[in-house]
């Protein structure tokens, strides 16, 4: 009798046969948690520097200059007698600010320029892209030096501005390619057939799709801007020594080399490198999320 029951015709969809699985994955797998935490701490410490600083970063304590790290001055003091620990927090704020401001500016220019080029007719598009290529072919440090020499002032806003207007080219190329590609994709064609206007397509299709592809570039641009600021300030054509940033702190390095004061070079530099690495890791994570086909080798 048992056999009869099990061999009864019951038809399709009689029972659900899907075997439930427990996803062993945690939400953090694959995410650059470590980088995010470190970067978060650095940003928090820099933004809220007044709560953490042990000394006034601008105060030149002539009695205790060029001291190696000790109990009172955790990271030592520089040749002008300023506390390096406080300076790192205080200066980090400015470095990060310049990085972000410059990126906002360059991204804005890039998106506008790239979108126009992407939508423009062939000849204009070609001309605009040639222009970016010419700009790209000049080493940006030279452009920055040139622009900087022209403006002749050196405050935070000017530096951010100079870095911003010299680093939009590669993003704009990507924006342009994306816009071209999306514009010719079938879902945009379909949307146009339904009567979707320019603004509808821009809002619903274009923007959400190209934002993800330029995110990586934007993050890397923050990194680039921070490097540019510190390099410029180090060379003495960026921020003056009185305005504290990670770059301008390092501009005392030459004196430090003479006295072999390693802390003045290594400590601020390490902070800079760690910050840059965290940003790079986060950027790589954003990029990696695209498809991962398996190798044929």
């Amino acid at each position: 009798m048992e056999a009869d029951k099990t061999f009864q015709l019951v038809g399709a969809g009689y029972k659900d046969t899907v075997v439930p699985v427990e996803r062993k994955q945690h939400w953090w797998t694959g995410r650059p948690i470590c980088s995010m935490v470190i970067l978060g701490i650095i940003i928090l410490a820099c933004v809220g520097c007044r709560f953490f600083m042990t000394h006034d970063p601008t105060y030149m304590d002539l009695a205790s200059y060029n001291l190696a790290p000790n109990g009172e001055f955790w990271f030592g003091t520089d040749t002008m007698g300023r506390d390096i620990f406080s300076m790192i927090l205080y200066g980090g704020r400015i470095s990060l600010f310049i990085g972000i401001l410059a990126t906002v500016l360059s991204t804005f220019i890039a998106v506008v320029y790239g979108s126009i080029s992407g939508i423009a007719p062939g000849w204009l598009d070609e001309g605009m892209m040639r222009f970016t290529e010419i700009l790209l072919s000049i080493p940006s440090i030279l452009i920055i030096i040139f622009v900087q020499a022209l403006i002749g002032k050196d405050n935070i806003l000017v530096i951010a501005f100079v870095i911003g207007i010299t680093s939009w080219m590669s993003i704009s190329k990507i924006v342009r390619t994306e816009v071209r590609q999306i514009r010719e994709s079938e879902y945009v064609i379909a949307s146009r057939c339904m009567g979707g206007g320019f603004w509808h397509i821009l809002r619903v299709h274009l923007l959400p799709n190209f934002v993800s592809s330029i995110m990586f570039m934007v993050v890397m641009n923050v990194r680039g801007a921070i490097v540019a600021e510190s390099t410029l300030s180090f060379l003495g054509i960026g921020l003056p020594i009185e305005v504290i940033s990670w770059g301008s702190m390092l501009s005392l390095a030459e004196k430090a080399l003479m006295t072999n004061s390693w802390w003045m070079i290594l400590i601020p530099g390490l902070f800079l490198v760690i910050t840059l690495m965290c940003i790079t890791n986060i950027g790589n994570y954003i990029r990696k999320n695209v498809n991962q086909r398996q190798s044929n080798m």
Binding site: L136, S137, L150, I237, I265, G269
Partner: protein, 330 residues
């Protein structure tokens, strides 16, 4: 799309023209008295009449266009004006330093790409193995270190503390012709130039290769019995060569930039140090020429690189069969 050589030359000339206009316009818009850049301190001692006459003689009272034409005319005959800082003909100052920069930048460039190719192949071949992972991690770290700081650290270690290698200049005092002195002075700057760009390009090459080994033809090559090594070298590496050359071309400005920064940190007497100094002292005549020379070298390298890359890529030689394209759907 294949671009003809005539078109390439045209693009080159056009780019150089744009560049020269840009550079010229900027230098004329720059703050400061242009007379100063011609006569230096003497300009300050001139009376107003003298100044007027000097302006006239130099053509500074004419329109920008006329000035530009004159400047180009002089430039073609090799006269770029005087350097304010060095009180010398601009070209004279540059000449001596150009060689230094070419040695540092040129050798650095070739070394960077040789190593990048090797590293890229190594990583792609052992994709996701511990070797690949370690190289990737170390590479990412090195690519995050700014050139100037790496230079400082190396100087701190090798010349200040260990006293093994010199940390500044291109040669020891009075030994400008000694090759060994030049070589020891080159080591640290070269290490920085190569190190700071190596991973960026090695990673690019690695990714290109990873893309390549995901192509279907690799499966077919394997199916016909080829070994992995042979597929890698005879198919994949060969196929990325055009891309490799064009990466090299595009990278030129970055390497040049890196070289300049390194020069400044090591006070290596080259174009980079010179342009940095002339910017600092508002020596626009000099800066203009330096920008122009750098720009021309980079644009030239860029265009030749693209030309070579297209010449060795058979896919570029003839248009594809248009059969599929005739139907608008694909």
């Amino acid at each position: 799309m294949k671009i003809s050589y005539r078109r390439r030359i045209l693009i080159f000339l056009l780019s150089v023209f744009c560049l020269s206009v840009l550079v010229f316009a900027m230098s004329r818009l720059a703050p400061g008295d242009p007379l100063v850049s011609y006569y230096g301190d003497r300009a300050e001692r001139m009376s107003p009449e003298e100044k007027d006459r000097a302006m006239e003689r130099l053509g500074l009272n004419e329109s920008m266009v006329v000035q530009y034409v004159k400047w180009v005319k002089n430039a073609v005959s090799g006269d770029f004006g005087m350097s304010f800082k060095y009180k010398q003909d601009v070209m004279k100052v540059i000449e001596g330093r150009l060689v230094n920069t070419l040695i540092l930048g040129g050798v650095g460039f070739i070394l960077t790409f040789l190593l990048a190719l090797l590293l890229g192949i190594l990583c792609a071949f052992h994709e996701n193995s511990w070797l690949d992972r370690i190289i990737c991690k170390v590479g990412t770290i090195t690519s995050c270190i700014p050139e100037f700081w790496l230079s400082l650290v190396l100087i701190l270690i090798f010349s200040v503390n260990l006293r093994l290698l010199p940390g500044s200049g291109a040669y020891a005092l009075g030994q400008s012709s000694s090759i060994s002195s030049r070589l020891t002075h080159l080591i640290l700057p070269m290490v920085v130039v190569v190190m700071s760009h190596l991973w960026y390009y090695a990673y690019m090459i690695r990714n290109k290769l990873l893309e390549e080994i995901r192509q279907d033809y690799v499966l077919l090559a394997k199916a016909k019995g080829m070994s992995r090594r042979r597929i890698m070298y005879q198919h994949c590496v060969r196929n990325i060569m055009p891309a490799f050359i064009s990466i090299m071309a595009i990278s030129l400005p970055h390497i040049v930039e890196g070289t300049y920064i390194v020069e400044m940190v090591f006070s290596y007497p080259g174009i980079g140090t010179l342009s940095f100094e002339s910017a600092k002292y508002h020596d626009y005549n000099m800066l203009m020429v330096l920008c122009l020379i750098t720009g021309i070298v980079v644009i030239f390298g860029n265009i030749t690189g693209q030309a070579i890359s297209e010449a060795i890529d058979p896919r570029m030689k003839e248009p594809e069969i248009m059969e599929v394209a005739a139907d608008g759907s694909r």
